[in-house]
Symmetry: C2
Subunit: 450 residues, 2 copies
């Protein structure tokens, strides 16, 4: 039963394996492409018809993932990858990779509705002997307690006996997915040893990366959460320090860069908060499991609160900076540069810049927003300006929301000429040199800076 | 004025510079030795007469610092280093390095009495043109707000004009002081540029390490605190995860080691808590400055609480483990292996093992304590056993308190034969393999382990 591990390489190369990938987002699509390149027949399933038809003509939404589009076009052209909205098309797959989103709802409770629904659909389609691999991030115990029961109930088969289940959480960083997929080892926990062995053999063969096998799915899911929560907590710590340093008249960047010269210190930087599909929600998957066993991780919870409140602090800096040039937020034109939650990608999911723009608008500012990745689109109800100059023209305050490379070499003289002097710069991402901003006539404020 | 930076190398080599080091502890003594080796005439001052007389015959307390004793003996023999209890003996020094302890009091408030007293004494002795270097860890603003005023009041001179002041916080790790002193760059902030330049030139010349100059003493002190608080918070995070994983039936070590395969994750491990001169107190120096400006770093504060409560958790594990073998803490013999707050050094300062032993004694256990670094001594009111065998003999529970290398290769078969079967092992430092402990008949519990 299950796919034999011994000849996986040969089976792949000879096109004998069919792989279904459920969810063709930033993780699912590159995964589907990689399996197709390795020789598998890949069927990708997504509920979004527009996404599916785009993929079937070799076009992906993720133009910010270097190399993805070219590689996608090839496997679509040679017929190795097909996308579909119909779950029935996955019937007969030897392995089914689930990569659907697992967000949190408005009350910060994990919303497993997509993955539950996907697994219900799968449960009525998959064949005995196949392996179901969960890449979606879920709380430890969710695969054992929710997903396996759904798969067993729908199929009438037994996990670990009639079919395999393994967690293999994705660990790739948006904007660097193609690179991380081959470089970062995969953590794999199966409901039984064979599930883990087959999943490990597949990923090692297809991606050429190392597989780190752990005892069970919950251990793999705990590891995935822990590495993201490590980042969330350390960014919160940097933010907490930044708020204090502002009051103590100490420059955070100078301090952090000095600390970074010690071997056991790892720099994290303060800013406008965190966003994207992982950091704002992963902690809640763990907290939710903690609540169930009466052991809430308060440090993790508190870190979330700190990061979630950083947009408010940025708005306060805007108010203070405008006040210094004798202007109010109401009636001011504020140029917001950078919308994405992280640099050099196009991803507005839970970006802290959205909350900043909403609050400024609420206070009566007029926002001109600009992001080189979103030109001509609409974001947060604003039309994105066509270029930097039109965004900055007449600005009373220029606010840096994302550290895109484009903003690291801003021509401050030009910004000064275009803006409505006296004007302010508020830098939430430490890309502008405070001294140079002041030399160019701006009143400067930055998160954690003096 | 001050020592000229241009010929510092020559001045040192020709024995033209006199350096005073105030406080001959784990940091002060190696510093004094290094300056003496570089050619300076060094006078070391300490209030402890026993410490001073030991040093003057070439003997240091820090036998756990590889190389220190040999190097001390040489510079004492060649007359380059002399120790004294008399502060007057430092008169005429070109540079005065202050390395006295800065602990916190029972109410977790920084206790600057030693450094204030040292600086009052210095203020009446030092000559114009000299440079005073603060290596002791202090809160940001303490040098500017407390130390400089003391030095100016006592001397009638002006800092930054008649004499120099720089912060150059030590960044060395106990047990690796000699190595870290030459490898870890020094962060230096002066009250003026010249103070920083001279301090940087001295340390670069004497230690061969890089100097990282920052804007002022408070920035240097903030960096020193931040790098230790980073560790304290991350250890607290590991502990918080460990407590939750115990309840979820997940092994922390398996999770952490899996996470460590990602490039941006840095492993920290759960345990019995933290100790020593830095981690239990450094956070409070920052919190204390935060309180003054109405901006308390709660994440930092909360992390302290988590780490401080870990000894209680270890005691709970002992209770639970003994319960499983149908024994009570009262009347049990508990063998405590490892007393130091960290591995492979002799340092009982604020070690969490002390609280564990006190609580167990309070509950009616009889503790047999053992640490290879403290044989024949008395610790926490107990006599340290002469060897491992006598410590373990008749034990109902063996508790690992410190991950000394000696304990990483324990003969579990021998321990089983010596202990009072049925016996338990409680491992607070993940040095014992749970499976092997169970194979040898022990009931096993470990912090964060299943």
């Amino acid at each position: 039963m299950y796919i034999p591990t011994a000849n996986i390489g040969e089976s792949l190369e000879k096109g004998r394996l069919t792989i279904a990938v459920i969810g063709l987002g930033r993780i699912g699509l590159p995964t589907a492409v990689s399996f197709a390149e390795a020789g598998a027949k890949v069927i990708g399933i997504d509920i979004n018809a527009e996404v599916v038809s785009g993929i079937n003509v070799g076009r992906s939404r993720f133009t910010d993932e270097p190399g993805l589009n070219d590689r996608l076009r090839k496997v679509v052209t040679n017929g190795k990858l097909k996308a579909s909205t119909r779950i029935e098309d996955m019937a007969g797959a030897d392995a089914i990779i689930v990569a659907v989103p697992t967000p949190v709802d408005d009350r910060k409770t994990p919303d497993y509705s997509y993955i539950k629904s996907a697994c219900e659909n799968i449960s009525r389609q998959f064949k005995g002997g196949s392996l179901i691999i969960i890449e979606s991030t879920v709380g430890p115990g969710t695969v054992e307690g929710i997903i396996v029961p759904i798969l067993e109930a729908g199929s009438g088969m037994r996990a670990g006996k009639d079919f395999g289940v393994a967690s293999c959480p994705e660990r790739a960083d948006p904007g660097k997915i193609m690179r991380d997929m081959v470089n970062v080892p995969r953590i794999i926990g199966g409901v039984d040893g064979r599930s883990a062995d087959v999943a490990a053999a597949l990923y090692e063969k297809v991606l050429g990366t190392k597989a780190v096998k752990v005892s069970n799915p919950k251990t793999a899911n705990a590891a995935k959460l822990m590495e993201n929560i490590f980042r969330d907590v350390n960014i919160a710590l940097a933010n907490e320090f930044a708020l204090l340093y502002e009051k103590l008249g100490i420059d955070s960047m100078e301090v952090i860069n000095a600390c970074a010269t010690k071997y056991n210190f790892v720099p994290h930087y303060p800013g406008a908060g965190v966003g994207g599909p992982c950091l704002p929600s992963n902690s809640y998957y763990l907290i939710s499991e903690g609540v169930k066993v009466g052991n809430i991780p308060y440090l993790v919870r508190f870190a979330r609160e700190i990061n979630d409140r950083m947009p408010d602090h940025v708005v306060t800096l805007v108010e203070e900076a405008l006040n210094e040039v004798k202007k109010t937020v109401k009636g001011s034109r504020i140029s917001v540069l950078g919308l994405s939650y992280k640099p050099n990608i196009k991803d507005l999911q839970l970006t802290p810049v959205e909350r900043i723009c909403s609050e400024l608008k609420e206070m009566g500012a007029s926002c001109a927003i600009f992001d080189p990745y979103c030109i001509g689109e609409t974001a947060f109800g604003f039309r994105v300006e066509d270029d930097l100059r039109s965004a900055v023209k007449g600005a009373d305050c220029i606010l840096i929301g994302t550290a895109h490379d484009e903003f690291r070499k801003l021509d401050l003289g030009m910004l000064a000429r275009l803006s409505n002097s006296p004007a302010a710069i508020v830098d939430a991402r430490h890309v502008v040199d405070p001294r140079r901003a002041r030399e160019n006539g701006f009143f400067y404020r930055g998160v954690g800076r003096i």
